[in-house]
Amino acid sequence: MELSGQIFSWVYQYFDNMAFLLLAASGLILIYGMMGVINMAHGEIMMIGAYIAASAFHAGAPAPVAIVAAGVGAGLAGVVLERLVIRHFYNQLLSSLVVTWGLSLIISQAALLILGPSIMNMPTPFGSFSVGGFSFGVYRMVLFAVAVALIVAVWALFRFTAFGIAARAAMENPRMAAALGVDTKRIYTLTFAIGCALGGIAGGMFAQTATISPFFGQNYTPMAFITVVMGGSANAILGLIYAALYLAGVQTVASNVFNPYVGYVSIMASALIALLVMPAGISDFIQRRRARAMER
């Protein structure tokens, strides 16, 4: 009984850690992979989503509706940011990094001024079940399912729809796409908004497991950044999945054998080691391997 519970506990934690990384990084890596901008304000977008979800929930909306509202609100915030600031910084990697960091400072400090340092809460739904003498929350499994569903949805959006084809064309060769009648500016705005909406949904989902404060996002961004850096920009979605599979494994083992802090540090260390082998990220590495295999 004890052993089965122990084994299940590790598997459960592995999926929980993976859900965390997938949700926190999905919007970020979409924006980076499609537009080459690492959005340092992503954590604050998640914070906006969390506040919207919690307010909607306390106003009487059911949790799923509250989370959709969080996605819509964060997406609209993304449109505003992109129109006002971000679009001036395409193709300037380092400057876009700095300017989005400035935006994150503005958003979190403004939230602190308006909402105060007090915290908000949302209850964790679904209760728990037990395996082998250990108790597990159902909601963590829902998080994982939602993360997978979101990623499949994004993949389908960019793979099958007319918007997706236009977006991939704009990414591949913006001038050619524009010459063929694709409104690349609109595509960029929409892609950024979708990335922010994903962040908002993630914020809404996490809002039910953590307390919400103006610095809510800072708990998620470091790990999200590492996942994105490891995933690379060559094939964003595939890179995200591989990076999450790898990092969640490292974190589960290290935090069980040692402690959560060692878990964090080992994520950092394993990401560094992985980058020594694959300096442009996992997805780039795999794409090159494939290209080499094709040549043979």
């Binding site: 690492i38 600031v85 001036h88 910084f89 990697l93 380092l94 400057s95 990094l97 700095v98 300017v99 960091w101 400035g102 935006l103 400072l105 503005i106 400090q109 403004a110 602190l112 001024l113 800072q218 470091p222 950044f225 590492i226 850096v229 802090y261 964090y264 540090v265 950092m268 990401a271 560094l272 980058l275 020594l276 300096p279 442009a280």
Partner: protein, 379 residues
């Protein structure tokens, strides 16, 4: 600057600080510079104790800003975690200082540790990053994560077992003595052959000392970036691959300048710890890291003088805003985004080039000065 053989000695000395990599190479600039330095040096004579105290901190911040300016502005390596080196330097100074102040009677070795520890740390991390040819964006983000992880580590050191000799890391209480019999965090005490001079962080002497260090760092960096090594740095910034094709080991250049920058940031951190007799895990958090980037980006990352001017100005602004409530970080964020939209090369640098253009044009009639061309080239 080409020199005639009969040029006077001051002109020849000045010439080694001048060049296309810095704004402000004219005699007019250096006169203004001298006046500004004199004003700063005389500040304790007419300002209150409180103003001298805050001014010391501003000067320490300027050294930190210069360290980021060197790698980001001149070599194109953006680090979003420059405060990591600042904090490591501060902690190293404190730990060595607490342990050695009584047996040695001075903090010479502590100051040295505050400079060398971050440099060694940078050599390890930088070696891994630059020799694996990591992309610039990844370097920037990994440095931020390193800084946050260091902060996370320092936060959980409240356990009494985290002592190094007589120093107790102390978690959220900040670094302090391990037991009541151990000395407190020492103020800066420079000793040489039996003599020891103590610089109390709250006093005028410390202010003058920091001013001297700041001037030395500024002039040293001006000399460095205008030397042939400086040209190499700028070449790395502009095109890494082409520089490598010319036969330079760009990884070594990047690593070297990264370590130098870490050493300067560590010097700044050590001075900060001596200034406030205080160092805390929050030094590794997001706010100090973003502040350095704001100072450098708003001033103009490609020019040393602009960075110093903007650091002093922005520090003064945030102190003034503190009187209006907790809005100084919000205001700095707005200033950063506005400045990057309106003057991508930096506010102080743009203004400096404009003033230089006006002054240069007035002189162009009488002398064969090429100041405006030079100012233009440096931007």
């Amino acid at each position: 600057m080409p020199q005639s053989p009969r040029a006077a000695l001051p002109v020849r000395i000045l010439a080694s600080f001048n060049g296309p990599q810095t704004l402000g190479n004219s005699r007019f600039f250096w006169c203004c510079w001298l006046v500004a330095i004199l004003a700063l040096a005389l500040l304790p004579c007419f300002a209150s104790r409180y103003h001298v105290l805050t001014a010391s901190n501003f000067l320490i911040s300027s050294i930190l800003a210069l360290s980021l300016c060197l790698i980001w502005g001149y070599c194109g390596i953006l680090s979003l975690g420059q405060a990591a080196f600042f904090g490591v330097g501060g902690y190293a100074y404190g730990i060595v200082g607490i342990n050695l102040i009584e047996p040695m009677g001075n903090t010479d070795l502590a100051l040295l540790a505050g400079v060398l520890a971050p440099a060694a740390f940078a050599a390890c991390i930088g070696g891994l990053m630059f020799y694996s040819r990591l992309k610039g964006v990844y370097v920037a983000i990994l440095m931020l994560v390193v800084s946050l992880l260091l902060g996370l580590f320092m936060r959980q050191t409240a356990d009494p077992s985290y002592t190094i000799g007589g120093a107790y890391l102390g978690g959220m209480n900040g670094l302090g003595p391990a037991t009541a019999s151990d000395p407190a965090l020492p103020s800066l005490t420079l000793g040489l052959a039996g003599y020891a001079v103590e610089f109390d962080g709250r006093g005028r002497d410390f202010y003058w000392f920091v001013l001297g260090v700041g001037i030395a760092v500024y002039l040293g960096l001006r000399w460095l970036v205008n030397s042939s090594f400086g040209y190499l740095l700028v070449a790395c910034r502009e095109d890494l691959q082409r520089t490598e094709t010319f036969g330079y080991d760009v990884r070594l250049v990047q690593l070297g300048v990264f370590c130098l920058s870490a050493a300067l940031a560590g010097l700044s951190g050590a001075l900060y710890t001596a200034w406030g007799a205080y160092i805390h895990p929050d030094g590794f958090s997001v706010a100090p890291n973003i502040l350095v980037v704001i100072w450098v980006a708003v001033g103009g990352r490609k020019d040393l003088t602009s960075v110093v001017v903007s650091t002093l100005a922005l520090n003064a602004i945030s102190i003034e805003l503190a009187a209006w409530g907790e809005i100084s970080l919000l205001a700095l964020g707005v200033i950063l985004v506005t400045a990057m939209l309106a003057a991508p090369e930096g506010v102080a640098a743009t203004l400096g080039a404009w003033i230089g253009g006006i002054v240069g044009r007035k002189r162009a009639g009488s002398a064969t000065s090429s100041v405006p061309a030079r100012l233009g080239a440096a931007l």
